[in-house]
């Protein structure tokens, strides 16, 4: 089997000699190629992996209960007992950041999953079916894309009332339109290709064509979109919580920890500003870098389309 792949890959019939052989291989081979091509992408993936581990093992890692007030230890700078200090209620900042990871991941992953799935389905339907449905859909997409994302999220959070579920829905909605537009253009390009037409000529049903021929081609752009969206979702959640309309306190989230600093505008404690912000920046940076690396690896044509 390996021999066959090698022969097929190395020299397609009639191909000019100078063409680089395209390496054909399974998932693990692809991963190795990705690692060679993009060390930064791998580093970003490792950082994201660590963030997930921190979130999953929060009760084990966090030294204290994130909600435990301790009025004897209010606003302590970082020290041996509280590595990242304590806040205005004497709660341990490190423990709150660790538990905040959970909230952030829960919101970001759920919102991105819902938003991207809806955007994907909508985009494929628009691109493949076309016609009036597509025409009407594109107007809706335009409207959704004609508002700054954070403002749209704010509007939805106001309309739906505060809470975890609302934040997830609001962030998911901000992801739908952009994805639908990109997936639509991919599906539109595929619709008239010979192999899809051949499928139709053979009598394949529309769902079968969508699943077997159209969807697999969308995997690469979707992977890139998802990783970029994760960063956007983490940022949006933190901004909403910072503005006091996201995750309601006392539940810790990186954004509402930063929002809490505003109450002491004239005498802020630096550790309350610095550490939660670093957590947001680090995770957004990791998803951005991974997204870029995936894009360059999977499909450089997406450069400029998915930013």
């Amino acid at each position: 089997m390996a021999e066959l792949t090698a022969t097929l890959g190395a020299r397609p019939l009639g191909a000019p000699e100078e063409i680089e052989p395209i390496e054909v291989g399974g998932f693990s081979k692809g991963l190795r190629r990705f690692a060679r091509q993009s060390p930064a992408g791998v580093a970003a993936a490792v950082v994201l992996g660590l963030i997930v581990v921190v979130g999953a093992l929060a009760p084990v890692i966090a030294p204290y209960d994130p909600l435990l007030n301790s009025f004897a230890e209010v606003r302590q700078p970082p020290n041996a007992t509280h590595l990242l200090g304590t806040d205005h209620l004497g709660r341990d900042v490190l423990s709150r950041i660790v538990y905040g990871t959970r909230v952030t991941l829960l919101v970001a992953v759920t919102a991105v999953f819902i938003g991207e799935a809806l955007g994907f389905a909508w985009g494929v339907a628009c691109g493949y079916l076309g016609g009036r449905f597509d025409l009407a859909s594109q107007r809706v997409v335009e409207v959704l894309m004609s508002m700054p994302q954070l403002i749209l999220a704010l509007l939805l959070v106001v309309a739906l009332g505060p809470g975890l579920k609302t934040v997830i829905i609001a962030i998911a909605v901000t992801r739908v339109a952009g994805t639908a537009r990109i997936v639509r253009s991919v599906a539109l390009a595929l619709r008239d290709l010979a192999y899809v037409e051949a499928g139709r000529a053979l009598g394949a049903s529309t769902p079968r064509i969508l699943v077997r021929h159209i969807a697999p081609q969308c995997v690469a752009p979707m992977l890139v979109l998802i990783s970029v969206s994760l960063g956007g979702a983490i940022f949006t959640e933190s901004a909403l919580s910072f503005l006091g309309v996201g995750i309601p306190p006392p539940e810790p989230s990186w954004g509402n920890m930063l929002g809490g600093v505003l109450a002491e505008a004239f005498k802020p404690s630096w550790w309350l500003v610095v550490f939660p912000g670093l957590a947001v920046s680090l995770s957004v940076m990791a998803t951005n870098v991974l997204g870029d690396a995936l894009r360059d690896f999977l499909d450089p044509r997406l450069r400029g389309v998915v930013e």
């Binding site: 700054p148 403002i151 912000g277």
Partner: protein, 320 residues
Amino acid sequence: MHTYIAKRILIAIPTLIGITLLIFFAMRILPGDPIAIVTDPSTGAQQRLSDEEVAKMRASLGLNDPYYVQYARWMGDVLRGDFGQSFWRGEPIRELIVRRGQISAEITILAVVWSWIIGVPFGILSATHRNSWLDGLSRGVTTLFQAVPSYWLGLVIVLVGIVWFSWRPPLSIVYFQDDPGRNLQMVLGPTFALGLGFAAVIARLTRSAILEALHQDYARTARAKGLRERMVIYKHVLRNALLPIVTLTGLQFGALLGGSPATERAFGFPGLGLALVQAIGERDWMIIQNLVLIYGVIYVVMNLVVDLSYSWLDPRVRLQ
């Protein structure tokens, strides 16, 4: 050219109508109606109202009318330039928009200026010294600042100012027309916080645009006729590379605008964004409704301007 402009403007109209519908129904259908937001204790309402008062208020605001009547009235008012008044303070919202809008406009525009001053030179250096340590450093910094939320940068700037420079956040704002010097001093922080992330985006785009233009025929021609590399870059390459940068600036204007509520909150800076945040806190739905509309309209208009300027800069666009 004129037909292109006319067509492009006509296309923007349905989008604008769509935005008004989106806002209208978001404010009404989802949780009941605006009065319900104000009076529902579970949403943190500030004032308890008796049922009688609620009924009276609802009638005076026309909330008992069918939706299409309410919508038509809102649109009529907006088109006449009447944005209603604040629910709690009775202040005309139009005055609020004029007073605070100029502050937000100022910091957004200056943020763009910052981003160009910082971003374009970094991008040029990065591209002309490709794969050198300078390029690596510049790309590293770029990646970092693209990920840093502007509101957090704002908090850090405020913190540094307070701790190291015994600076106090100003309690009131000085307008540019009253005292340009003091005004610029005040907006320095917010514009920097807002502009730095955008500078990173600009630097990145400048780098890739220049790298692309360096290999175009006109660059080769310029070199072939004996121009020094410096001249090739500044006279030929940069000029062409500016096109996508201009476009991106226009398109990202909306993102900057969207970042203004959080950034203004970080500084306690009384712009439109902070007004929106305060209105949300007070459940002042008339302000929320009209401010969100303003944000949407500015965004659509900016996109329109970008499209039109693009067709002016690059005639090929018109022919498509």
